[in-house]
């Protein structure tokens, strides 16, 4: 009993660690896509943010400065995406591919130029990192059965960005569904002509959607490089931006279901590592690759409409051109 409980706590913690950047990116993608801009550059913005966060916090020994710089940098990338897609009516997928590729190359090129370590940044000192925070009374309560273990073993002991990620979900929900800005953001993703007719700038709304998107991917990148790890490593985003995109689609472009999808994908990842080489009675050895591919397979199945239907915002991917 006790052993099973420890196992569950460990798996739950691993799930949360994996899911944190996914949740941040999924919320980021939600802001962009709800405004009608396809964003497959979550990956690139996160990678760029991770690099800037590690570089700045290495040179300043301040995690918070690293975070700020990463947020600003990722916002800048989002603005570039907006400049191409909103101002110049460029193809949104092409722009996203360009940003991903640009960041995949530039982070290494600049990393070598600045630090000469083959594209890595030097290790960041503890001051420059987001370290686990122990919530109050975590020590004292750890002996209390169930609740104490849950509190000190699971709820406590994560870094600030993990809590921030889980706060971002209700915040996103509130902004998107309970504010005037959110209403307009959703409207501009469904029918920009109507929004324009009401005298509201389509371009400015979409730019603001992208700004929030950039900021959140910056936080995700910071998490990768100076919270989960202690330095930037080339290609450290490793496709997580795409998984987050899949999770957002899996959550049907809604915050809470998207978070649940992120947690599910995180759980799959945590389980995949634990199941390596384990023989499940009746099935035999489960191929790890199958579990790793499951998020993608599930997303395709969902998109195909076999398990419920996931419908994108109506005006997504279409540049808005005023009728003359």
């Amino acid at each position: 009993m006790e052993e099973a409980f420890v196992f569950i706590t460990l798996t739950a913690n691993a799930t949360v660690r994996v899911a944190t950047p996914l949740i941040l990116c999924a919320m980021a993608g939600l802001f962009s896509e709800r405004s009608g801009i396809i964003d497959i550059s979550l990956e690139g913005k996160m990678l760029g943010g991770a690099f800037i966060a590690a570089s700045v916090s290495y040179s300043t020994d301040s995690a918070w400065l690293g975070l700020m710089a990463a947020i600003l940098f990722s916002m800048m990338l989002a603005m570039l995406h907006g400049f191409a897609c909103i101002t110049h009516n460029g193809n949104q997928v092409v722009s996203g591919v360009a940003l991903n590729m640009l960041m995949s190359g530039l982070t290494v090129v600049m990393g070598i130029a600045w630090f000469s370590r083959g594209g890595q940044t030097p290790g960041v000192s503890p001051d420059g990192r987001f370290l686990p925070i122990n919530l109050p009374f975590a020590e004292a309560l750890s002996d209390v059965p169930i609740i104490g273990t849950l509190y000190s073993g699971f709820l406590s002991g994560h870094n600030a960005l993990v809590y921030l990620a889980f706060l971002a979900v209700p915040a996103t929900w509130w902004v998107v569904y309970r504010t005037r800005f959110g209403l307009r953001l959703r409207a501009v993703g469904e029918n920009p002509h109507a929004v324009d007719t009401a005298g509201i700038s389509v371009a400015w709304l979409r730019y603001r959607g992208l700004l929030i998107c950039g900021g959140l991917t910056g936080v995700a990148g910071t998490y990768l490089s100076i919270a989960q790890n202690a330095s930037f490593v080339r290609e450290m985003s490793a496709g997580q931006g795409y998984i987050a995109l899949a999770a957002m689609i899996f959550g049907k472009w809604r915050p809470v279901p998207a978070m649940l999808a992120c947690l599910m994908f995180g759980l799959l990842d945590a389980v995949a590592i634990r199941l390596q080489g384990v023989v499940v009675p009746g099935i035999g050895e489960v191929p790890v690759q199958l579990i790793q591919a499951l998020p993608y397979v599930l997303t395709v199945v969902l998109l195909a409409g076999f398990i419920g239907k996931s419908v994108a915002p109506k005006a997504i991917g279409v540049p808005y051109v005023k009728e003359r």
């Binding site: 497959i40 191409a84 110049h88 193809n91 092409v94 360009a98 590729m101 190359g105 290494v108 070598i112």
Partner: protein
Amino acid sequence: MSSSPTKPLPRWIDVGLVPILNIVIALLVSGLIIFIIGEDPWDAVQIMAYGALGFDEGIGFTLYYMTNFIFTGLAVAIAFHTGLFNIGGEGQAYIGGLGVGLCLLVLDTALPIWILMPLCILVSGMFGAAWAAIPAYLQAYRGSHIVITTIMFNFIASALMVYLMVNWLIKPGQMSPQSVTFADQSHLPFMSEVFAWFGMEIAQTPLNITVFWALFCCIALWAFIWRTKWGFETRAVGHNEPAAVYGGVDPKRTIMVAMLISGGLAGFVGLNEIMGVHHKLLLNFQLGYGFTGIAVALMGRNHPFGIILASLLFGILYQGGAELAFEMPKITREMVVTIQGLVILFSGALAYMSVPWVSKVYNILAADKPVPAEGEA
């Protein structure tokens, strides 16, 4: 962009000058980055040009890269003509290579090369097409967004390949996941061997006769797009789907046809890599070619002839970039990826950024003359 009465741009500016201008901007920004990291951009250009074109080994590598880029560039282009974005060239190339590998693992000694060659062309194309068929079907008949599904299929292909290589196809008693090497007689001839038949000696490079197949595919695709009924339907659906439907075109079938061709073309990368170069199955032989295909197609304006030129340029960038990494310690292969990103950005996403300016300049210049003459700007 402005609604003031302006003359429409002549064709040579639209298809000639503007794309070149975009590439020039991309290369200037790349030069700026090289300058910022403390190297001389002009030196870099010279090293790259010599490394890619200055001697026979460099040329061989350049043309070998070009071969792969032609396949993936054509794959992206045919999908673009139908108004679709095939971002899954990476996965289709991977699975195409898997097809060739499986075929040769079984038949490498059983059949003579002149049967294996067409067979492997067919198999690589069919495997690639099959991998594109599912996203295509979901787009055409279930309305799922093909960009997302093809991205997902890239990752699924990657997981599948790791699983197959590690568990089934790995050469026994070996650590790295590679299959056994195919029998010598099943290898496609390298160009150095072809030249040797005629008594000429050139350096041995990965360049093999697949390059001819790539050029043939360019001609064939040109003929398909502009000289057949199906190609016409493809362009009709891409330009104006309701009009195409009104004209009696079935867009669903058209999407399937275009995507199957697209996947097949991407699958030929596997032919070049597995049958032509590595002669065994291995992981990640396709890495980056699928995505570069997007840049190639954008730069070549989705026209097979443009794609040959763009592929050559990217071949030069790849090979020249490798030489550059030798010569300049601060520059690595990632510089090429960066340049690629910039090319996609400026000649893809920001393709029309320069149009208002060009249009303004053209109108000023053309206003003085009664007939727009050639040669200005």
